[in-house]
Amino acid sequence: MESKLFNLTTPLKIIVSITIITWCIIALFPLLWIVVMSIKLPVDSFASNPLKVIIGPSTKEQVGGLSFVNFIFLFLSIYLFYKLYQIRKILFDLINPILKFSLITFFILFILYITISFILFFLIQNNLSEFVNILFSNLEFLKIFSYPIIGFTPQHYLSVWVGNEFYKQFLNTMIVTGGVVTISLTVGTLAGYGLARSNSMIAFWLLIFALIFRALPHSVLVTGYLEPFINYGLYGKKIAVIVLLVAINQPFTIWMLRSFFMNIPQDLDEAAQIDGCNPFQAFWKVVMPLMWPGVITTGLFSFLLAYNDYLVAALLLDGQSQTMVPAIMQYFNMETKMTDLVESIAAAASITAPLFLLVMFFQKQIVSGLTQGAVKG
């Protein structure tokens, strides 16, 4: 019965596969294309023949490229990177009894993982694959594998990050996003818990107002505070941006955290209070340990909001204190030569890389976060 019902007829199967393949191409193509353009010399990046852009004949001639060996190693190291991630559960279980699990240990482990994998990645990528490449090129019958297939140059990335000191903007973005995530989670978790456990009219109205506030265009808040910020010397200070982004983010944060808290049975904190905890101890010692998945998910969305923001930072920061996204747009508007254009493409590609990693690692949390508010209401 079941199998007959859910089996698709052949034409339907074809339609489904075509739809999905088309969507995947449309979703990926623009992003892949900027990566491809960013690793070529301008002559190739803006060639009219798409094949030329992908293969990059002039880049290959002038700078060099990736050979078959390089590609094998590239896939090998990506695979290793992913395997390391897959065994994270085992690692966690090993460490858990020693260091009590908390958000801080989680982040330390996460950062540790990223650094170790990157070191491994670059070791394999640069040294090992170069070594094998040279080895192969000296052997008559394996020579063919060491010839470059696709032109590759890291020069645009180097000139963006080192030459133009893009790391400064990167640090600014990190400070702003870090501040936004920490403050909105601290304030939001408390409020979310209160709202989930209260049936009063105040809670009701607070939620309705939060919903209305969520609809406000972000520029409205900047308009209200731009003049006071300039007058009190907060213009160009990151704290101004952080505060406004936290406020913009707050309605969304409390709605989402509230629905996560509602999944945790109320009996739990009542039992804790009967056992002699005050409401705060019940919150911190009993409910919070169960809430970390929800907090991490909400934190991801706060991170995205702060990281992707253009409007607030463009209006309130300038020059040295600017964050990455507005800085790229300035870069892009200044461009005079083809090289500058490719450099701004490289900058755009490097902004996207952390987001790519984020989806890779937190796909489940992102999906659960998106559905949380909708399905629970």
């Binding site: 019965m1 079941e2 019902l5 859910f6 739809t19 969507w23 995947c24 449309i26 979703a27 193509f29 623009p30 900027i34 803006f46 009219s48 852009v53 304030v187 939001g188 409020a191 209160g194 709202l195 209260s198 049936n199 009063s200 607070l206 939620l207 309705i208 209305i212 506030f213 969520r214 609809a215 265009p217 520029s219 409205v220 808040l221 308009t223 209200g224 505070y225 707050q250 309605p251 409401p279 919150f283 253009y310 409007l311 463009a314 209006l315 996204v325 790229i328 892009f332 508007n333 755009a348 996207t352 984020l358 989806v359 890779m360 796909q363 999906v367 998106l370 559905t371 909708a374 399905v375």
Partner: protein
Amino acid sequence: MKKSTFLVFTMPSFIMMTLFIALPLLIVLIQSFQFNQDVLETIERENCDPFGCKTETITVPVLDENGNKIKNNIWVGFQNYKNILKFEQLSSVISNDGFEWSKIRSIDFYKALRFTLTFTFITLPFVIILGLILALCVNVLINRLKGPIIFITLLPFIITPVIGALSIKWLFIGDGILTLFLENILDKDIALFSQGWTIEILMLFYRVWHTIPFAFVIFYAGLQTVDKEKIEAAFVDGANRLQRLRFIIIPHIMPLIVFVALIHLMDSYRVFDEIVGFSASGFRISLQWMTYDFLRIDDSGTRSIGRASATSVLTMIGIIIILIPVLRRTFKEQKEKRL
């Protein structure tokens, strides 16, 4: 929970929202009736040249001890609104040439309003229908494929909007590969960034591309909760696939469709990043972009805060009008849950 405990827990968030959302709204409302002006003073200055000295009176802005211009706000009533809405120009256009849209569009505010509204309402059906189709397709896939496809699908959603818009722009700009491709097909020269409507289509496309993943994820989660027995019963009764979709699945996920529509209306009404990413401000502007533009320092070195506030107030009125039906529904639902 006791009321006092509740208040303690929600206080920080409440203060945060009052101080940084409610208060700025009030400030914006006040500012929209004010005009920010340099304080001027008349001074006498002696001007000497080889033919002797002359005293002349000139007006200069008063400076404070740091050398900044002192400014004060004067009340101007509805002047800011009048400057933006330009009723005289509007009525003269209408009375002289009849109702001619191209003339009305020369006024910035109506141009921005027109774009924002069409942008919001044209993208809405696309996002919902395409998101639903994608969710239905992924739902029947084998489990091994679902993970990677959801991963790919999330990428357009998660990417920085400005960068996403840029990445699409680069495909089409000048001799971008897709422009060349189109030129080959249509056999004529195409310049997609030299007129408004092509940019507008690209912006619409970008927004749909960017929002489909969100609709997809929500609908996909909703499809997991459809009652399988109901579908089987319908199957036994001879309902075909389309009928099952129309009479069982769609009613089941209707609340989710409303939810996606609500969020999409809120988000696409404040369209802004596309205009920056596609550098479209010469052809198409949105309401939020207007506010942004007024807030930037203009050629004379000032920011038109009063006008920015007036646009903000008008923008807010717009979003409230759009959202009233949906908000009323949510309001009722939440109230029923409580009772």
